[in-house]
């Protein structure tokens, strides 16, 4: 792997880590949704520090240029992250739907009670 790419990756991932950790400390981010980013960052950092791993892995996967292997791995990670969002989003919208329905039914109960107490 090119030294410049290596340096770029090392500083890029370290910078991202710092930002993520700062944001968690400020309570802007939920650790639950960050683990997969942290894992992919760690993976990248390891590859950047020991590029031989990327070369061996790329060779093993039949990819000629190691950096292409890194890009592929990144894309796979992004897919996983996007998918985890679809799962979280489905879960959230289901919860939100239930809450809206329950609140609406409660509002009706309150109206009925007020009516009766008049």
């Amino acid at each position: 792997m090119d030294n410049r790419l290596q340096l770029f990756l090392i500083f890029g991932t370290l910078f991202t880590f710092i930002i993520i950790i700062r944001m968690i400390q400020k309570r802007n981010l939920n650790i639950k949704y960050i683990t997969i980013w942290m894992m992919s960052g760690l993976f990248l950092l390891i590859l950047a520090l020991f590029p031989q791993i990327a070369v061996v892995m790329a060779h093993f996967a039949g990819i000629e240029v190691a950096s292409n292997g890194v890009f592929l791995a990144m894309i796979v990670f992004l897919y996983m992250i996007c998918f985890s969002y679809a799962v979280a989003l489905s879960h959230n919208s289901e919860q939100l739907k239930t809450i809206v329905q329950e609140v609406a039914i409660l509002k009706k109960s309150i109206r009925d009670l007020e009516e009766r107490n008049k």
Partner: protein, 244 residues
């Protein structure tokens, strides 16, 4: 009929989204039924004065704070039916396309032992039949259900339907959020509930515009086809337990 209904609680669920123009007519037309059934209108976060119309008519309503779409609105009705111990729930669109004369036939069919009854436009092919393109789409879905489940449902997209207590409990727990009609049929069949159809005459939409366009139609067909296939191939019943 009315004798039979003495101890049976029936709820008419009317989902309404921006229906201030259609509702007054509709509410007048179904007033005669209120002697033997209860009415609940679900205001699905309407941006017009639907809620004022409901207050003026002194109609029981559930007011959703945000727009959930037809599935979420109807499910709110089923939740309400479940909590208040209704035996039969009937779905009736707020845009006035459904024939109120057939409400009685739907209820009778439930009393005869069906778990769910669908009012179909295509059994006697009378009344409003929708556009050619939509009829074609409905035919395709009908065909797909037929080859996958072996059961004939001529109008799977019809939102004019009635169901018994078991299905009310099931729908209160699980109901798809958008374009729910066809998907729920497959879900119920998967759980071995009995679904029957009766012929009804629908009328064209009175006022306002239908929310369906070309892009939505493509999404509709794709989503519904997918839901049918996923529904049929899921032998475990999607992790949903059968009630009753």
């Amino acid at each position: 009929m009315h004798e039979k209904l003495r101890n049976i609680k029936i709820l008419l669920i009317i989902p309404a989204y921006n229906e201030e123009k259609n509702l007054p007519d509709l509410l007048q037309r179904i007033e005669e039924y209120t002697s033997w059934l209860d009415l609940i209108v679900i205001n699905d976060g309407s941006k017009d004065n639907t809620i004022d119309v409901l207050r003026d008519f002194n109609i029981e309503f559930i007011d959703l704070s945000v727009n959930l779409g037809i599935g979420g609105a109807v499910q709110a009705g089923y939740r309400y039916a479940e909590k208040n111990g209704y035996d039969i729930a009937i779905q009736f669109d707020g845009d006035g396309q459904h024939p109120h004369q057939d409400i009685v036939s739907l209820v009778e069919e439930i009393l005869n032992g069906s778990d769910m009854v669908i009012g179909s436009r295509y059994i006697e092919k009378e009344g409003f039949q929708s556009t050619i393109l939509r009829r074609l789409g409905i035919r395709c879905l009908s065909f797909l259900i037929k080859i996958l489940t072996g059961k004939s449902i001529s109008d799977p997209t019809s939102g004019f339907r009635a169901c018994n207590r078991n299905i009310i409990k099931y729908f209160a727990e699980y109901y798809p959020q958008d374009y729910p009609e066809t998907e729920t049929i497959v879900q119920l069949m998967r759980s071995k509930w009995t679904i029957n159809e009766i012929p009804v005459r629908m009328v064209p939409r009175q006022k306002g515009v239908s929310s369906i366009n070309l892009l939505k139609s493509i999404y509709y067909m794709f989503k519904v086809t997918l839901s049918i296939i996923i529904g049929v191939t899921d032998g475990k019943g999607g992790g949903l337990k059968k009630y009753g």
